[in-house]
């Protein structure tokens, strides 16, 4: 990658961070935290984006950020109150800024009108007129540079150029040096910097322009080409270009910039500067705030994700190998050395620790994901004319990066649904005795080795009669079906189900909750729903912390080895034939402490062996599915409990119903990891049989 592209990439990466900081700050301000620290953080974020954008000549981005920044500066100086309307505009502007950054990254900004509209709103907000040019450019240090490019070449044209940048030029983040370099590319450039306007340091205004240049350019290029160089700074500088006959090679001898004189000046003025700086200090709060904020941030490095993944794969191999080694050594009869055993245990502990540390590299807080959701809420709320507040909890919860990334789409859809379908209009809410502003809650937490993400709203709840009616109309349920509330709720997850009577342009994008459910399942996660009429609905996602390993128990069924994820297991049940009740049609229930749970014969379910008419042998494992229902799985034997590395079956094969993934056991052979929810899932209800052909056809 060429260095410029690399720097550009870094800039956009940093933009992402700045945008996150911006949104964070704005949300905090919306919550009433309008202290100078917060406002400054917001200001700095926009300012940094503007500064970087200038360097890459992303003019649309610069000008938008500039207007945004000006408005924020008014807030900072106290001349603009960050009331609710202003905050809404700021948040929308932050969204627009994110779009603009994305558009600039991917190429040209195609349609500037939405940005212009917001710019105009800003101008209206800060009291008319386009933004004043009173920029804060404290972060940018300007160095006058004398450029001399000596490249003797006989050229046809000679131009004398007088170039005096105005302060606006710097304010728009243009850089004279870049222009001079551009000129030098056209031919031979002699430049002379005029520093006679440079004031003493006590009157030196860091953001003013004091330098001008006298340039002699010998070039083959036309006058138009030379003028083109200054296209972007037109109006922001005094420029005079005069063509001269090339014969006159006797250019005026450049005056040397007298560095010693400047240094002497500096030395004389030094005490005065110190005093001035002390006086100026309170006036520049962001200069102080910056290092303070930075001090908290831990040092980080950017690492190519491929490298991390390679490391993770290698560690995965290491874990398998360690398990194989242990198994071989312990099973070979002649070695029963206590030292060998303890060394192997130590090796296992170390391997596990390495693995956990490596996994932690990929762990990321869900905060950026949640922040994206706050934007979705705003957009949908605007489009549906609802008043919505998003409350987030547990943003610091860390999950595997891939999980975070793959969650974005399903979560977006659930949030849209919550605002569009879940929440009522302000009028309906008021009529129902609720506050007009609806709340959508997005919470993340770690719970027993998994990540639980909840999306809940305080809206109307699921309209069960309508859901049932719809399901019957769509032929998903027979008309005489007697369904429990939770069964009705779960109808939402069936393919081809949509409650909106007319397809709205917000939720109805051809994606139903079935797709959400499928993407969550693809992540090894589970989704469940609970709802109370008039009080709202809660969708709960339970996701693995990582997609790489899981703890499971190794079982055998008809000499085949399977792994059951430990997270699903409640207990193993002592097998007594007297506790099994036959319900006919190869259905059995198991009595566990006077509670009857369905007993699923894993072998028959997976087609490993024919359904048995009695289940006299084996071990029953009591499991709990994501939505809290319990079932028992019947297997032949339990072999072991261990951590296994998850290997995708889909990489080279395809998804198999009832199988979550594959793994490689200590003997080097592949074993299937059971998808417990699918095994005991609603396929056992007759009314849901329709789901199977539908799912296959999709």
């Amino acid at each position: 990658m060429d260095p410029m592209a690399e720097i550009r990439l870094t800039f956009f990466q940093e933009c992402e961070e700045q945008l996150a900081a911006l949104e964070n700050g704005l949300l905090a301000m919306q919550e009433g935290e309008t202290d100078s620290e917060t406002v400054n953080a917001v200001f700095r974020a926009v300012h940094s984006i503007k500064g970087g954008a200038g360097a890459f000549k992303l003019d649309a981005l610069v000008s938008f950020a500039h207007v945004f920044e000006t408005a924020l500066d008014k807030v900072r100086s106290g001349s603009l109150a960050p009331d609710a309307d202003a905050m809404k505009l700021f948040l929308r502007a932050a969204d627009a800024l994110a779009d603009l950054v994305a558009a600039s990254r991917d190429g040209a900004v195609e349609d500037a009108s939405p940005y212009v509209a917001i710019e105009e709103e800003f101008n209206a907000l800060i009291g008319g007129g386009p933004a004043e040019e009173e920029d804060e450019f404290a972060g940018m240090d300007f160095q006058p540079i004398v450029t001399a490019f000596d490249e003797p070449a006989p050229a046809r044209n000679r131009y004398a150029i007088r170039f005096r940048p105005l302060r606006e030029l710097y304010a728009k983040a243009n850089e004279p040096l870049a222009l001079l370099r551009e000129l030098a590319r056209l031919g031979t450039l002699e430049s002379q910097c005029d520093i006679k306007n440079l004031p003493f340091l006590d009157t030196f205004e860091p953001e003013d322009s004091y330098l001008s240049w006298e340039l002699q350019l010998d070039t083959d290029a036309s006058l138009a080409a030379v003028k083109e160089v200054f296209d972007f700074v037109e109006g922001d500088c005094d420029l005079a270009i005069a063509a001269q006959p090339p014969a006159e090679q006797a250019a005026p001898v450049p005056q040397e910039m007298d560095i010693t004189a400047i240094l002497r000046k500096v030395r004389e003025e030094a005490p005065a500067i110190a005093a001035a700086a002390a006086a100026a200090a309170p006036a520049q709060p962001e200069a102080e705030a910056a290092p303070k904020a930075r001090a908290v941030v831990q040092p980080t490095i950017r690492v190519d994700l491929d490298r991390v993944d390679r490391l993770i794969n290698l560690v995965g191999e290491l874990v398998i190998n360690q398990a194989m080694l242990t198994q071989r050594v312990l099973h070979s009869s002649h070695v029963r050395d206590r030292e060998v055993t303890s060394s192997l245990e130590e090796l296992e502990r170390l391997t596990r620790e390495i693995q956990e540390s490596v996994m932690a590299i990929r762990a990321q807080p869900v905060r950026p994901l949640f922040q994206r959701m706050s934007r979705i809420v705003r957009e949908v709320a605007d489009a549906t004319a609802k008043d919505v507040r998003l409350r987030t909890e547990g943003e610091a919860t860390e999950v595997d990066k891939t999980v975070v990334e793959l969650l974005a789409d399903p979560l977006t859809h659930m949030i849209r649904n919550a605002v569009d379908h879940g929440l009522e209009s302000p009028e309906q809410r008021t009529a129902a005795g609720k506050p007009p502003e609806g709340t959508v809650r997005l919470a993340a937490a770690h719970r027993s080795g998994r990540v639980i993400i909840e999306v809940s709203d305080d809206g109307q709840g699921i309209n069960r009669p309508r859901v049932l009616q719809k399901a019957i109309a769509n032929g998903l349920v027979p008309p005489d079906a007697q369904l429990s509330d939770s069964e009705i709720d779960n109808l939402l997850f069936l393919p081809g189900f949509s409650t909106a009577s007319s397809v709205s342009n917000i939720s109805g994008r051809g994606v139903g909750m079935d797709v959400v459910k499928r993407s969550i399942q693809a992540l090894g996660g589970r989704i469940s729903i609970s709802s109370a009429p008039g009080q709202g609905s809660t969708f709960t996602l339970s996701l693995p912390l990582t997609l790489a390993v899981l703890d499971g128990i190794v079982v055998t069924v008809d000499e085949q080895v399977f792994v059951i994820p430990l997270t699903a297991i409640v207990e193993t049940v002592k097998h007594e034939p007297s506790r099994i009740h036959h319900l006919g049609d190869h259905s059995f229930v198991l009595r566990v402490r006077d509670v009857l749970v369905p007993l699923v014969d894993v072998g028959a379910e997976l087609g490993v062996r024919a359904p048995a008419s009695d289940l006299r042998s084996g071990v029953a494992i009591l499991i709990e599915t994501a939505n809290g229902t319990r079932s028992a799985l019947l297997v032949d034997n339990i072999q072991d409990q261990r951590q296994v590395v998850i290997k995708s079956l889909e990489t080279n094969y395809m998804r198999v119903d009832g199988i979550a993934a594959a793994t490689i056991l200590g003997d080097g052979r592949v074993a299937m990891i059971l998808d417990v929810d699918a095994l005991v899932g609603p396929r056992h209800h007759d009314w849901a049989q329709a789901e199977i052909p539908l799912a296959k056809a999709s």
Partner: protein
């Protein structure tokens, strides 16, 4: 794709020839990643009959297709003498269980004849053409349809 067209420009390609279900087949050497001996596979529940299961190929879970069964020929009862040809199928890899690998053929493109019309619909899914050589008739296998069609459906 680029490799393929470059090969076609030279109009000569190399094929790995093998026997499966008593017949001779070959596949383009560019899609062969490695050839290894048979190792017992783990059955996949609910898989079509021609999927023997999956094996661990250096940490990768690799499905094994019994090519004979896939082509409607008698199934293979694998022994240690049987061979797995690890082939690339688009983005995926699959192992082909075959009886034995016979040789590597250098074949000019022009000597590959179109699949005869008498071939069954099933054979037409996998056979791109036939090579007649030294009294042998060798079918050129394309890997596109060897894995279950469900893969494409799931991906779509």
């Amino acid at each position: 794709m680029i490799e393929k067209s470059a090969r076609e420009l030279t109009r000569e390609a190399e094929f790995v020839a093998f026997r499966a279900g008593g017949l001779e087949f070959c596949i383009n050497i560019m899609s062969v990643r490695e050839i290894r001996g048979w190792t017992p596979a783990t059955a996949i529940p609910r898989a079509p009959s021609y999927i023997r299961g999956v094996i661990n190929l250096r940490g990768v879970v690799l499905p094994i297709v019994d090519l004979g069964v896939r082509l409607g020929l008698p199934g293979t009862e694998p022994t240690a003498r049987h061979v797995i040809i690890v082939a690339q199928v688009g983005e995926r890899a699959a192992g082909l269980l075959v009886d034995s690998v016979s040789d590597i053929l250098s074949v000019e493109d022009t000597s590959i004849q179109p699949t005869p019309d008498v071939a069954s619909q099933l054979a037409r899914m996998f056979v791109r053409g036939v090579i007649a050589m030294d009294g042998r008739m060798i079918s050129v296998i394309t890997m596109d349809n060897v894995l279950p069609a469900g893969i494409e459906l799931e991906a779509a």
